[in-house]
């Protein structure tokens, strides 16, 4: 009854074994999962931002935030390409990688609710709540590395740590840039810690 993405989120290792046994879709069909991620981001951002859904809003938001999918693909490509013993081709591996996106997708869909909690700022609520998909995804990535990339348990842990580091570095760089630089971000946190700022 549940989608393969949902099953990957709940039982990643067993589900990846099942998916590996299935026939690989064509490269074009493999685009459906990144496309779904883009739709989720566009819908989540639009509802969170202005409680509005229109076709033009979805298209412009998808275009503006399409870089998120591109960055995720680049990180996935780095993880996959550096594992020559993987059990499937690159495109199929990328498709299966995006099958593990459910934790982040559910988080994005939950943002309209999370950000109206009357504690802290929406930015802070987003940041704190992001820990849930971050940790959840670590288990999925570890299973992906073991089953799809054919790595040993210890090698899979290293790959998972590398993936986590890449995500944290990229997200941190974007946050620092958007906040106006390291000094501006640091002063924001200091003001918050001192209870002097909203």
């Amino acid at each position: 009854m549940f989608s393969s993405d949902a099953r990957v989120a709940i039982r990643p290792e067993a589900t990846y074994h099942t998916l590996l046994a299935e026939a690989a879709p064509s490269p074009w069909v493999a685009l459906r999962r990144p496309a779904l991620v883009l739709l989720v981001v566009a819908v989540g951002v639009s509802i969170t931002a202005i409680h509005q859904i229109t076709l033009s809003l979805l298209l412009t938001t998808a275009a503006a935030w399409g870089g998120v999918v591109v960055i995720q693909t680049a990180i996935a490509a780095a993880v996959i390409a550096s594992a020559p013993a993987r059990r499937v081709g690159f495109v199929r591996a990328l498709d299966l990688w995006f099958a593990g996106h459910l934790p982040y997708s559910l988080w994005v869909l939950a943002l309209p609710i999370v950000t109206v909690v009357p504690v802290g700022t929406p930015h802070e609520l987003m940041g704190v709540s992001a820990v849930v998909p971050l940790v959840w995804t670590m288990f999925i990535v570890a299973a992906f590395c073991r089953v799809v990339l054919g790595l040993s348990a210890s090698a899979a842990r290293w790959r998972t740590a590398m993936h986590l580091a890449l995500v944290v570095i990229v997200v941190s760089a974007v946050v620092v840039w958007a906040a106006g630089g390291p000094a501006a971000l640091l002063s924001y946190f200091l003001r918050r810690l001192n209870g002097m700022w909203m």
């Binding site: 739709l39 819908v43 931002a49 979805l58 412009t60 938001t61 275009a63 869909l109 929406p122 630089g181």
Partner: protein, 286 residues
């Protein structure tokens, strides 16, 4: 046909219907700017964050939302960068749509300063006065952003040279709200023409125009708005509806109070949101 594809298909149909309803209900009704004597009273929000940056939406979608919120002018003010400048420049000069000004939130550890009407990025300077001079060199105006007492940069020398201060800014903490009012009063003592400003500081959640500025201008243009702010011909409104500014201008705003929201399809918009949200969740899970 198995149950899962049926549920997923139904979910996709819900997404399509939701987007269709939302698109139909999301049409913005044109509105004319309010007149008061020889002046336009333009409703503005001069502290709006956009993508690319720390805002969620592009300038074009923010302009559409501004129109829905009854605003006539907004300024895109991201932190220490103007990466959205090409998107602002690309907006057509449609007289029925709000004016979109390029700006920046000049962000320094000791102050945040809104620059409005600039053409290129302003680097944070050690002092507010230096940053204001850099903004004035581009013929823009400088507005003290959410000036609580935690921003040490807003000393007397700084408040004497800014063109406006945010006296109305969305706020949950009462003492910060009092700080905004106190800072505006201090600035008014140093410069009687300093403009009271109300801004939303919208980033990623619903609030554009929550606090706003009414600008008294002879012409409905970017230059007219800038000149009016520089001359202090504004009234600020906070989210509780309180007005700040010269008594005569406040009286004129009260007499001609612009319609705040033009949202005749609220129920349909909510229906569209629910259908789309459930639909996307269904596609993910089934």
């Amino acid at each position: 046909m198995s149950a899962a594809p049926s549920i997923r298909g139904l979910a996709l149909v819900m997404v399509g219907i939701g987007v269709a309803i939302g698109t139909a209900a999301g049409r913005v009704t044109d509105r004319s700017p309010v007149r008061s004597g020889d002046d336009f009273i333009l409703a503005g929000d001069f502290h709006v964050h956009a993508a690319p940056g720390d805002g969620s939406l592009t300038p074009s979608e923010l302009r559409r939302e501004a129109s829905r919120a009854g605003l006539d002018v907004i300024a895109i003010t991201n932190h220490n960068q103007v990466a959205a400048a090409p998107l602002v420049s690309a907006l057509d000069a449609d007289n029925d749509q709000p004016i979109v000004l390029l700006g920046e939130e000049v962000t320094h550890p000791t102050y945040h300063l809104i620059a409005v009407g600039i053409t290129r990025a302003v680097r944070p300077q050690p002092s507010v006065a230096d940053a204001v001079a850099a903004i004035h060199a581009q013929r823009g105006v400088a507005i003290a952003a959410h000036p609580t007492r935690s921003f040490a940069g807003y000393d007397e020398a700084a408040l004497a040279v800014v063109d406006g201060t945010e006296v109305a800014h969305p706020e949950r903490v009462e003492r910060y709200r009092l700080d905004y009012v106190a800072t505006f009063a201090r600035a008014r003592q140093l410069n009687p023409h300093v403009a009271p400003i109300g801004s939303s500081d919208i980033h990623n959640s619903l609030s554009i125009g929550q606090c706003r500025t009414f600008v008294f201008t002879r012409e409905r243009s970017a230059r007219g708005v800038i000149e009016a702010i520089r001359a202090g011909r504004t009234v600020a409104e906070d989210e509780r509806g309180r007005l700040f500014g010269d008594a005569s201008l406040v009286a004129r705003v009260r007499a001609a109070m612009p319609k705040v929201r033009t949202d005749p399809h609220r129920t349909w918009r909510r229906t569209a949101l629910i259908l789309t949200w459930i639909g996307v969740a269904g596609v993910l899970l089934f």
